[in-house]
């Protein structure tokens, strides 16, 4: 029982992190209709910026803030310089162009920071366990991640549902042409949305940094998962991304935690440990495929085409 609660918390935490990455991706895709493979690169850059800043200033909070702002700036820069030329083009062009950006970012990081990667150590007050319930000790830092992510979710909700910008975002996601016809400054809107998406991905990256190491290519695995999330959730829908992300996070964690044990009834521990994660990863893709069969546009598609 306690095991279930702890694993449940782990799953929620992973899901929330996935949501941060997926939210940006689904916004960019839904509003600008751009398949941005380089989204994982913002995740990586967020972590690198934060790790570097923390090492310079000695303060974790300063480092995190800097990481966030720097990634936002980077997103805006990339949109202005490169990505806006891809609007209106075929998805294949997007795929190829942003694939090229991934290569570029990976090498740039290698050039500037070297191949070895960085680490971000936590201050003592975050490195301990908190007893959240009788007998359950949960690492304080992971609780912090959950708290911050939920705060971001709330912020996004308020932004999208209760502000003018949010209204434009929702409108743009369901009908892009109409927004242009209404005389809104599309260029600015797109740049802002892209920057927001990049910042969200960067936030996810820098929050993960103390748990995993900061290294080249760290965004690629999460990118694929994020794509699965937005396809399941429905492209352009933040609500869909939230639900799908939690679902995927829970399934992935449960798979990693419980599948090997189940398989051990049939296979040796080594084989079960290979097959377990493999099966749970496959589970996520099967989930996506089944959702697409039943609802080809995802669970909560934003666009009414």
């Amino acid at each position: 029982m306690l095991l279930l609660i702890e694993q449940g918390l782990n799953g929620v935490q992973l899901g929330l992190l996935l949501f941060l990455v997926a939210a940006g991706l689904t916004l960019i895709f839904g509003i600008m209709d751009v398949v941005n493979l380089a989204h994982g690169s913002f995740y990586m850059m967020g972590a690198y910026f934060a790790a570097t800043a923390t090492a310079w200033t000695g303060s974790l909070l300063a480092g995190l803030a800097f990481g966030l702002i720097a990634t936002l700036a980077l997103g805006v820069a990339i949109e202005t310089v490169a990505l806006r030329r891809l609007y209106g083009r075929d998805h294949l062009d997007h795929v190829l162009g942003t694939f090229g950006l991934i290569l570029f970012f990976n090498e740039l990081v290698r050039l500037v920071w070297g191949p070895a990667g960085l680490s971000l150590t936590l201050p003592a007050w975050l490195s301990q366990s908190v007893e959240i319930m009788d007998g359950i000790n949960y690492p304080a830092y992971r609780l912090a991640i959950v708290a911050v992510s939920l705060a971001v979710v709330a912020f996004l909700y308020v932004l999208v549902m209760h502000t003018r910008l949010g209204m434009l975002i929702r409108a743009g996601a369901s009908n892009r042409e109409m927004i242009g016809a209404l005389g809104i400054n599309i260029t600015l809107l797109f740049t802002l949305v892209f920057g927001l998406g990049a910042a969200l991905a960067g936030l996810a990256g820098l929050m993960q940094a103390p748990i995993l190491t900061v290294q080249i290519g760290m965004g690629e695995n999460i990118l694929i998962l994020a794509f699965v999330v937005i396809v399941i959730g429905g492209i352009g829908s933040i609500r869909g991304a939230f639900i799908a992300a939690l679902f995927v996070g829970l399934v992935d964690t449960a798979g990693r935690a419980f599948l090997p044990d189940l398989l051990r009834l049939l296979l040796s521990p080594k084989a079960a440990s290979s097959a377990g994660p493999a099966l749970s990863s496959m589970l996520i893709y099967l989930l996506m495929a089944s959702v697409l069969v039943v609802r080809p546009e995802g669970l909560f598609p934003a666009a009414r085409k």
Binding site: F29, V35, A82, R85, L86, R89, H91, L92, D93, V95, L96, G97, F99, G100, L101, I102, L103, F104, F105, N106, E107, L108, R110, L111, E220, I224, F227, V228, V231, I235, K270, A271, S274, A275, P277, A278, L279, S281, M282, Y285, L286, M288, A289, L292, V293, P296, E297
Partner: protein
């Protein structure tokens, strides 16, 4: 067929000659590594040509094509591991297994369009990848070493020169097959379906079936490439099927020029020699390759082949007229 006088034709002839004469160059310079790279280029060219069949002609953007390289490779690897070394068993199994997988993927994915199609093909490739990493008995993530190459009796594949020519012959055969398919009625229907599927259906063609067949053929050809790759490396691992490898294949096709027969070959040569050559100059070569890809996407949409064609186009521009859908439609109806 274009006359040999134009740049594209010249390039094709030069490249073909270089490929055929490569072993002689190796014998002259004593650099055995050239043959290793050359064989790898030829094998990847086969894979790229197979992707072009569905991507260039069919307009189906598959982000999971590397899965067939893996399936073909594992067919050879698993059979070799189990003591079955005959190429006459291994290679047909590789091709067949790839065909079956392509059929499954195609049946599910061809019902979707656009980015959903891309995602579904990616998803299936990832599933194949994870199955391979879970195969503990066959090395899982560590991969599987292949201790004996496919046995074909008289033809000794462990001889590097012989193996190279076998691959080259298979590349030639693949090109001929794709050429025949593309210019046949079947191919024209597929191309017409790429530009306007509803119109083709209105004409009475069951486009879903045509595209599915095209998808399966492409998968089988790539499976053959996978079997060759496993022989070439004496090794197979799930990394061969990783989605970034599918990305590499897409890059080869786009770089070389989609919708042209020889383009993917040029693309494979370009990408792999760039990798080798640039990495000698600087170890940060991908910093050049990345923006180069973006530039190709933005400004040189037809890839290398398009660039070469451009040299001739400047002179022949006046003669280019009818947009392709009408051509394909008309020809399909009267073929």
């Amino acid at each position: 067929m274009k006359t040999l006088a134009n740049a594209r034709g010249v390039a094709v002839v030069l490249v073909a000659a270089a490929l055929v004469l490569l072993p002689a160059a190796v014998a002259a310079t004593g650099n055995g590594f050239l043959l290793v790279i050359g064989t790898r280029i030829v094998i990847m060219a086969i894979a790229a040509v197979s992707l072009n069949l569905i991507l260039g002609y069919g307009g189906m953007v598959s982000f999971g094509h590397a899965a067939y390289l893996g399936i073909g490779g594992y067919a050879v690897g698993i059979l070799a591991h189990s003591g079955i070394h005959s190429g006459l068993v291994q290679w047909p199994v590789a091709i067949l297994a790839s065909g079956v997988f392509a059929l499954l993927v195609g049946m599910l994915s061809l019902r979707t369009r656009g980015v959903y199609f891309i995602m579904v093909t990616l998803a299936f490739a990832q599933m194949a990848y994870y199955v391979a990493t879970g195969l503990d008995a066959f090395g899982g993530d560590d991969g599987l070493t292949i201790y004996r190459r496919s046995q074909f009796g008289l033809v000794d594949l462990s001889n590097k020169v012989v193996f190279y020519y076998v691959c080259l012959a298979l590349l030639a055969a693949t090109l001929i097959l794709v050429w025949r398919l593309a210019s046949s009625r079947f191919g024209l229907v597929v191309q017409g379906s790429r530009s306007n599927d509803k119109r083709m259906q209105a004409l009475g063609f069951p486009t879903y079936r045509y595209r599915l067949v095209c998808f399966v053929v492409a998968g089988m050809l790539c499976g053959l490439a996978g079997a060759l790759l496993a022989n070439h490396s004496d090794f197979i691992s799930p990394a061969t099927m990783h989605w970034t490898r599918s990305g590499d294949l897409l890059v080869m096709v786009i770089l070389g020029g989609m919708r042209s027969l020889f383009g993917p070959v040029l693309g494979a040569i370009a990408l792999l020699t760039l990798e080798e050559g640039l990495s000698e100059i600087t170890e940060y070569w991908q910093i050049i390759l990345g923006p180069l890809l973006l530039a190709v996407v933005l400004y040189a949409r037809g890839g290398i082949d398009g660039l070469l064609e451009g040299l001739a186009t400047r002179r022949m521009r006046a003669r280019r007229t009818a947009p392709e859908p009408v051509d394909a439609l008309a020809e399909a109806r009267h073929a």
